[in-house]
């Protein structure tokens, strides 16, 4: 591993690479990993990357992350790669792309949006820009930036 940091290969699980430096903790938050689940988790932060300068890496044993989790990760780590590992080999390379529509995961920042005011309201955002990420509420047109998304995930 780069910079001499040694993290051993995992047998089964998920490796998330090319996370922007400093956002590995947010990735763990998206995945609901608090540390008491019993999975072995390796977290590497601020290592050099040819592609993005500095990066974070997360390795989780005995857990295959699902597509919804993958989509959420792209919102804060658009260039991340997700590899599913089986018996020490890469069994699946997840093709990540920022979703066109994000339903029910994020909250509209407009307190007067109907989605925040009716018990049946479900938030829905469409991506209007992928670089930088801008999501727009389908109901009230209020926008969320990548920072807003990150703030929501970390809050």
């Amino acid at each position: 591993m780069e910079n001499g940091l040694i993290v051993t290969k995992i047998k089964d699980g998920t490796v998330i690479d090319h996370i922007p430096a400093g956002r590995a903790l947010a990735v763990l938050k998206i995945l609901g990993i608090k540390g008491n689940e019993g999975n072995r988790v390796a977290l590497v932060m601020n290592v050099d990357s040819h592609r993005i300068g500095k990066k974070d890496i997360v390795k989780i044993e005995e857990r295959v992350i699902n597509n919804v989790e993958s989509e959420l990760i792209t919102l804060i780590a658009p260039n991340a790669t997700i590899n599913i590992i089986r018996n020490y080999e890469v069994a699946e390379k997840r093709k990540l792309r920022i979703p066109d529509i994000v339903v029910g995961i994020l909250k509209c920042q407009n307190p007067l949006c109907i989605t925040n005011n009716d018990p049946e309201g479900i938030s829905k955002f469409s991506s209007v820009s992928k670089v930088p990420i801008v999501l727009k509420c389908d109901y009230c047109d209020t926008e969320l930036t990548e920072d807003d998304v990150l703030r929501q995930i970390l809050s």
Partner: protein
């Protein structure tokens, strides 16, 4: 045509078809839709919009049910919007909704299998006011393309402005000037998607002589997050004789109404003042809309 939630819901051709049908209605064409029932769900106050929708429905021979405030409805008992809409769709052929929350009309349309017309949702949109606005302009100039527009006032919280800006994307305005005090500038989310050039200004004086349409809005006191912010900008602009004297011949002043002090009442007799004429067109244009949605 199904739901009308945004000014984007009309194509250019649909705008022109509705104008044409409204013209026929004004010339005396009688259309009767006696079996239909319109449900008006006005959770927020309204004078012109509610009355003109009612008058339009009644002129078409339709029955109107509904409420003009949530007092007296089960909403005060805690019923949510979705359940209220489910009831109204059972009792009617079309629901006209006004609500204080942004996006409420779209939400209602997702719940209802009957067509929903947005009569104003929070600070978001008011597409049928845009029908009235554009119809008034079309009747005055016989075109919307090639005209110079000046939108003056509260461009941030006025839903009529969002809808008008979106409605203009279906035409080819020559230039659009957005004139407001800095805290009341138009929302960037709306501006970003426009397909025509616009210029943001703090004062109208440099462009008044170029404008064909001066569209004035009230400062939307009820939408301000706090009173202090409102106090900073209230009465920050008034259309007075000095402004009107700088306007070109044949140009018009529109206002979705109600007004407070943003148009001096002395201006009402000016040949430029078309806002009461504009309000008068609200009935035939909404008749035409009902016909387009529900069929003859």
């Amino acid at each position: 045509m199904e739901d009308v939630i945004s000014a984007y819901d009309f194509s250019r051709d649909q705008y022109l078809e509705i104008f044409s049908l409204a013209d026929e209605i004004l010339k005396g064409r009688k259309i009767k839709m006696k079996e239909k029932i319109i449900a008006e769900a006005f959770f927020e106050p309204s004078t012109r919009t509610a009355l003109s929708f009612s008058a339009a429905a009644q002129r078409l021979g339709m029955n109107v049910i509904g409420f003009s405030s949530q007092e007296g409805t089960s909403v005060v008992k805690g019923e949510n919007l979705a359940d209220t809409i489910r009831m109204m769709e059972n009792y009617s052929d079309c629901i006209v909704i006004r609500h204080k929350f942004d996006g409420a009309a779209k939400f209602a349309a997702e719940v209802s299998s009957k067509p929903v017309i947005n009569a104003g949702d929070g600070k978001h949109e008011h597409p049928t006011q845009t029908l009235v606005d554009l119809y008034t302009i079309f009747k005055t100039f016989n075109t919307i393309d090639g005209l110079n527009f000046g939108l003056i006032g509260d461009l941030r919280y006025a839903r009529t402005v969002n809808s008008l800006l979106r409605g203009l994307t279906r035409f080819k305005p020559k230039s659009v000037y957005l004139i407001s005090p800095p805290p009341l500038k138009a929302r960037k989310e709306i501006l970003r998607e426009l397909n025509y050039e616009y210029v943001e200004l703090n004062s109208p004086y440099d462009v008044l002589h170029d404008l064909d349409v001066v569209y004035v809005t009230r400062i939307q006191k009820e939408r301000f997050p706090d009173e202090v912010e409102y106090e900073k900008v209230k009465e920050s602009y008034t259309i007075d004789e000095k402004i009107v004297n700088s306007m070109r011949k044949g140009s018009i002043i529109l206002h979705p109404l109600p007004r407070v002090n943003e148009i001096d009442r002395k201006i009402d007799v000016s040949p430029h003042a078309k806002y009461f004429y504009q309000a008068s067109l609200a009935v035939p244009i909404r008749q035409a809309l009902f016909v387009k949605i529900l069929g003859e």
